[in-house]
Structures are given as C-alpha cells and as structure tokens.
Symmetry: C2
Subunit: 191 residues, 2 copies
Amino acid sequence: MSILEALKARRTIRLFKQIGVSSDDLRDMLDAARQTSCACNGQLLRYVVVKSSDDVKKVFEQTAWAGLVKPRRTPVWGVSAPAAFIAVVGPKDANSMTYADAGAAIQSMQIAAYEKGLGCCWLGAINREKLHGLLGLQEKQEVFFLLAVGVPAEQPVSEDITDPKDVNYYLDDKNQLHIPKLTVDAITRWL
Amino acid sequence: MSILEALKARRTIRLFKQIGVSSDDLRDMLDAARQTSCACNGQLLRYVVVKSSDDVKKVFEQTAWAGLVKPRRTPVWGVSAPAAFIAVVGPKDANSMTYADAGAAIQSMQIAAYEKGLGCCWLGAINREKLHGLLGLQEKQEVFFLLAVGVPAEQPVSEDITDPKDVNYYLDDKNQLHIPKLTVDAITRWL
C-alpha cells in the first residue's frame, strides 16, 4: 500500500479488540511524532504513554466518544476499550500554532499506527482537569488531546459528499460506520 | 520505504528546483488532506491552490522564511522559490481545535508530497491581510497557513538532542541544514 493510499484509507477507530499494543509499536508512533514539523522547530509538545491496564482504565473513564453514534460507538471497558492512550501535552498558555503542531504530530502517530494494523481515535472531549492529576503533569502543563490506540474491531468507510451540511457520520443497518467526506472539488479553489 | 521511514525521513524544504508541480500531484495532496481526522468530522477547512506563476510570485512576496538561517534558506524568486502554494483557509472565529485540524491536514499533505519526491515548507509567518485579498477569500474566512510545494534543492538532516535548549537549527560549513530533534525518551513519560 502506498503512503497516499494509507492516508486515504485510514479511519478513526472507536471499537477495539481486547489485545495489547507493544511498547515498540507505541515508541515508533512517538518517533514519528517527534520528527513532525513544528513552529520554529520549538518542540513544545510532550507525551505521556498510558499502557498499564489500571491506568488505561482510569484515563478511559475521563473520555467521551462520538455523540452522533451513541451508544454503539462508545467503547465499553473490558469489551471494546482501547489498549493504550498517548496523551499529547503542551504549555498551558499555548497559542493556536502549538495546537496546529499537536494536530500534525497526532496525524503522524495515526499513520504510523495504521501501517502496523493499529487503529486510533483522536479525543478532544476529555476531562482535562482530572487527567492533569492522573497523568502527573506539571502546573504549567495541560493535556491538549488523548490518542486512543488499539487493534481495530470495526471497519468504518468514507463516502464522498459535496454539501457541507451532510458531514454527520452514521451507522448503517449492518452496524458499519460511514464517514461523509467533502470531495476535493468541494473544498478547493485553484488560482 | 515504509510509512514510518517516510514519517521520520521527511524534512521541511526551503530551497526548490525551478521545476513545476503537476495538478495531479497537488490534487493527491488535497485528497490526503480531506481524508484526515478532524473535530466532529466538521470539515471546516478550505484550500486555495496557487499554481500559475504570476499568482505564485504575488503570494511568495507575502511570506517570511526561517529567521535562524537567513539569508541562505530564504528562497529567491526565479532561483529557488517554490513552484506552488496551497493556502489552508478556515473560519475567522476558529478555536484551537480547528488549528489542530489544520496541522493534521498539513501533515497529510506533506507526507503525500514526500512520497512523490516533492518537498514542502509549512509557513506561519505570512501577511494574512494581504493574502486575504490576493486569494479572494470571503469576509468570514482567514488564511491559517501556507504550504509551499516544489522539487527539493536541499537535503536537510535531523540529529538527536536531549536538551530542549538545543532546538535551534543551523547550517554547517557544507551549507547543509541540521534540524535538532528531541529523542523519544526526552519527550515521553510512560505510565
């Protein structure tokens, strides 16, 4: 599979097989993250890998999942929950550039994971206050995002749309998740 | 080359051969961008591709390049300037999540370009007010970032560091750019 094919085929995963993820695989994801472009090469982001079952459960309890497809895409602990989390941490007073850096690093990790047969869900609906303590962060740090990681137990598909009103994802009668994505023509002007 | 190897080997490019970039290659980059994760699948980003020489020149004049390695990594029009720009555009009132979305989409485009032998520079030091007019944006839109695209005329290398004070990139006596990157161990804690 080419890199372009992977970039197009990779989808967010919200249901996971109850199989562990190796430290080597997580380390490779972080190796991809650290080599990602960032503003002025400043490298303001830090990572906390949560891998031991007890800690994963505690972090899992501080997450919320896709409201549009509740409860079927809300993973259940011991049944469909992720095997690990990578917390993306930045300075409390960060500007929008550092959030852009975080998005780029997360996309690197997601693509690295995809090549290994792993799936990810980038989570922004998280209890940052509780996580700050759970993850043992410094006062000046904040959790920007969590990346849930595990072996996929679902196969979402994308479908092309041209109207921005149609972006809501949905489950079909076979319980497959459909992700509407605007076509290149719908989002691009050429000069 | 594996995807992980590409994610680790890709570097920002600031000097370009004076060779055009095909519309097909730019379209593939946008195809990767549109399939990238984004908050709530909202797809708030839009793109303007600047490819005609006159327009590329006008946009190029509104950009600033790596201050630390001036003037040797400030491209010169007609000599080392990029062949095209992709402007990443979002809502004027965007929050930090939308900037994270932009970072992720840009990383997708950069990796897609890398596979094609193209190089990119993600630019944040740009004259957004002038670009708003040049790109014909709507009142409620703003240019978040520019992505310069072209055929690389330099081969930067990364080197491992462990001290966040050492992140400044530099040119060696052979005019090769060195990009210090913090090791995985320097940026990660494991729970």
